[in-house]
Amino acid sequence: MRSQAGNDAQFLAFVLGSEEYAVDILRVQEIRSWEPVSRIPNVNPYEKGVVNLRGAIVPIIDLRERFNLGHSEYTPVTVVVLHTRDDNGRQRVMGVVVDAVSDVVDVDTAAVQMTPDFGARVSTEYINGIVSVGERMVMLLDVDKLLKLDGGDDDQAH
């Protein structure tokens, strides 16, 4: 449900290092605290492994590492945001490790600015736009791109 003109949309904002990001709340399935994962061999380092989510096997990726923001220790208050992604009619769930979830923000889609090349450490390709919430600047992430990762489910070149 992409917001078009002047619609309010809700975003889930979270903190990654010193920066604040947000994702479309409708793409969030659940927010959980960190729990140990089972490692998967021979995958990217930021793909931390899989956990058991009520019987489903869900991969967990570390967004910090994904964005090359360094590594942070996982504590019981580390937060995992489970995102859903529609993949050819199939719902895929994937967990994303973030530093902290800050807020649910209502965003007027009209107020979303296009991404300037502001030299954020995150490659702008994952960013749909920037919005100001109060004093803060929040980057809106493209969940699909984010989760598609390197080719998603099909043959992946290592």
Binding site: I40, P41, N42, G55, A56, I57, G89, G151
Partner: protein
């Protein structure tokens, strides 16, 4: 159409699809010249129940369409009409059409009215052409449906003409025509004409039999339902033709159009959201392709996969077991409330009971998932029938082991590969009749589908007695396409394997049946996804056998947990041959890196799990410190070097791809008792992975050197 009704839709659709399947197989039987009253009856009953159901749920178009079919079948059943090839073809087409209509309705989509109309016309034409007594009636059915709830308001109903000819045994069923006539008389003005023609000589007359037939005319504002109600009890025991009597002459000419027009409002009602899309009237040939994008739009819910029909006995069994489980549970909670150490035995026995029941329950539930492979096989007679006609080949399809039970998931996923294989056999395997004769074979080719259990696997074979695979041609083609290098000696099996290579098709001509170069690779991939494999046996000029080996169920496997460092993996028990301690002196190192060890005159490569999976904190670094598990997968044997063997357990297979992607060397994941996730190893994948790594190592070695 009430909201309450909606909950029964699903059941209706399932029953209807089953009915369609039954009709189809029945028709195919007829097609084979196997004329049988009972066969027609079966088809008729299926048609009839679809008609009834669709009427009940207000799927008017379906009801109307089936009515026409019913009429045709009725004539056939009564012997008033010859069962001809043409009629059967038309009926088969109608069955397809009906299936499409139902599918459309089920997924809340627009019915392809043009196609419906086309089929209906074909049916009507058939009714007209070969009609004996029913030629007049044959034109009528189109008008009957509109008489139903939604359409009734627009039509002026003068009355009804009813041709009622009960079967001779009607009286024995306790039905009394006189009582029925009295009921009809209460609805309106009734005129009754008796037809004595069927009455035999007096000497042969049995007073308990009914040899009379009646022609009834009733006038008045009477709905069709009212009349049907009267004949409700005798429907099966008589020949009944109800015709609407209209006041205005000439309405008959418009009948085709009205049929079509009338359907639209209904569709509009159903598909309120899709106002903009107009009905497609063009080109029947393109319809199939157009439907595909339409299907894509549907909210991802593949038809027919969401529910299964289960034998009530299985359900009863299940309920019993759940009952047992509840009793055990209450016993355990009682023990738990008043627990003392001397009730430990009780607790233990309770837990054992619980375990047993859980296992039984699991087996039962798994059993519920098991369906006969027939669910897949049923479509093939039709497929073969259609295709052989199209290609001008004469082919007999034989099926054995249809009752072999397979997991539902397997049924769903094996369907496409099987279709592909059968098509392949039809297209490439079986020769043209003249070629066959020239080769000294019977004119009619034979394709055999065979399913059976072997070990923990189910084997599905597709055999043909066609020309078989041409090895030279295959090889030449592969070389031409650069898939293999020239001058490399290959075994038959390796040559056959070529057809599974992506982008490989040997058919000289592209047909719309096969030979698009995508196919066999997909087939193999699908089968591998199911945890199975495919083998080819072929003899040139004699035929081929494609044998698919599949695990019985995909959901659960017997696994052996192994420890590698801090991590736990599951090895499918069927892959394990043995576990041994390997001492260093049993090991040979080949070219520095690759390790093999000797086991009873056989040299097996050693795959060090921690190296291949990059596991840290490994306990056993030397071979003598850990264990080597000898495993076999797809004919490849190797030794997995691990730290330790843990427990053996049944594990529920969870897809890793559902939310992630395929990982080489891993076939899936499972959830262990403590809730953590363990990966299930894929032995052939591991071997590939090992080879890749070895190659990489070799390469880097070469580079550095």
């Amino acid at each position: 159409m009430t909201i309450d009704m909606a909950q029964f839709h699903q059941v209706f659709f399932e029953e209807s699809f089953e009915g369609l399947d039954a009709m189809e197989s029945g028709l195919l039987n007829l097609d084979m010249g196997d004329f049988d009253a009972e066969a027609i009856n079966t088809i008729f009953r299926a048609t009839h129940s679809i008609k009834g159901g669709s009427g009940t749920f207000g799927f008017t178009e379906v009801a109307e369409f089936t009515h026409v079919m019913e009429a045709l079948l009725d004539e056939m059943r009564d012997g008033r009409r010859q069962v001809t090839q043409g009629a059967v073809e038309i009926l088969l087409g109608s069955v397809d059409c009906l299936r499409e209509m139902l599918t459309a309705i089920q997924s809340s989509q627009e019915i392809d009215s043009a196609r419906v109309a086309e089929h209906k016309q074909a049916l009507d034409r058939e009714l007209d052409s070969g009609g004996v007594a029913g030629s007049v009636l044959a034109n009528e059915p189109a008008f009957q449906r509109p008489g139903d709830a939604s359409a009734v308001a627009d039509t002026v109903v003068q009355g009804w003409r009813i041709a009622f000819s009960p079967h001779v045994h009607l009286l024995k069923t306790g039905n009394d025509p006189v009582r029925m006539f009295r009921e009809l008389a209460e609805l309106g003005e009734l005129t009754v004409k008796v037809d004595f023609q069927g009455v035999p000589d007096f000497q042969q007359l049995d007073p308990e039999e009914c040899h009379l037939s009646w022609d009834l005319q009733i006038t008045g504002d009477i709905s069709r339902e009212q009349i049907d109600d009267v004949f409700d009890w005798v429907e099966e025991d008589c020949d009944l033709a109800v015709q609407q009597l209209t006041a205005q002459p000439g309405v008959e000419e418009k009948s085709e159009d009205t049929g079509q027009d009338r359907s639209e409002p209904a569709v509009q009602k159903l598909q309120a959201a899709e106002v903009a899309s107009p009905p497609n009237n063009e080109e029947p040939a393109s319809r199939r392709r157009e439907q595909k994008p339409a299907a894509k739009k549907a909210p991802a819910k593949p038809a027919g996969s969401s529910s299964i029909r289960v034998d009530t006995e299985k359900i009863d069994n299940l309920i019993n077991m759940v009952g047992e489980l509840v009793i055990t549970q209450s016993m355990l909670s009682l023990v738990g409330e008043q627990f003392s150490i001397n009730r430990m035995d009780q607790l233990k026995s309770g837990l054992a009971q619980l375990e047993r029941h859980t296992r039984e329950l699991q087996e039962s539930v798994m059993n519920i998932r098991m369906l006969p492979i027939n669910f897949v096989f049923t479509r093939f007679p039709r497929l073969v029938h259609d295709l052989s006609a199209k290609m001008g080949k004469k082919i007999i399809l034989e099926m054995t082991g249809e009752q072999t039970e397979v997991d539902k998931t397997v049924i769903e996923l094996i369907s496409d590969p099987l279709v592909h294989l059968v098509r392949n056999s039809l297209d490439h395997g079986i020769e043209m009749p003249e070629q066959r004769l020239a080769a000294g074979k019977p004119e009619t080719g034979r394709i055999t589908l065979n399913a059976y259990h072997r070990g923990g696997n189910i084997v599905i074979e597709v055999c043909d007695d066609g020309r078989g695979l041409d090895k030279e041609k295959l090889l030449a083609k592969a070389i031409e396409k650069g898939l293999v290098e020239d001058n490399i000696p290959m075994t038959d099996q390796q040559v056959f394997e070529l057809i599974f290579m992506p982008g490989f098709s040997t058919a000289e001509q592209l047909s719309d049946i096969s030979g698009r170069g995508v196919g066999m690779d997909v087939v193999r991939k699908n089968i591998q996804t199911l945890g199975g494999n495919i083998e080819i046996q072929s003899e040139q000029g004699r035929g081929s056998v494609f044998a698919i080996h599949l695990p019985l169920t995909l959901a659960i496997l017997d696994g052996q947990s192994i420890a590698v460092g801090d991590e736990t993996y599951i090895v499918p028990l069927v892959s394990i041959i043995e576990s041994i301690n390997v001492s260093e002196d049993m090991v040979n190192r080949v070219a520095g890196k690759g390790e093999t060890f000797r086991l009873r005159e056989e040299y097996l490569p050693i795959i060090r799990m921690h190296e291949i999976f990059g596991v840290e904190n490994v306990r056993a670094k030397k071979l003598c410190e850990g264990l080597v598990v000898v495993v076999e997968g797809q004919g490849v044997r190797c030794g997995l070097f691990i730290d330790d063997l843990l427990s053996q357990q049944q594990v529920v297979i969870k897809s890793l791809e559902a939310n992630f992607r395929r990982v080489e060397g891993v076939s899936g994941a499972t959830i262990l008792g403590d809730g953590s996730v363990a990966l299930i190893l894929d032995i052939p994948g591991l071997v590939r992975l090992s080879n890749q790594q070895a190659a990489k190592a070799q390469q880097s070695y070469a580079e550095t050197a």
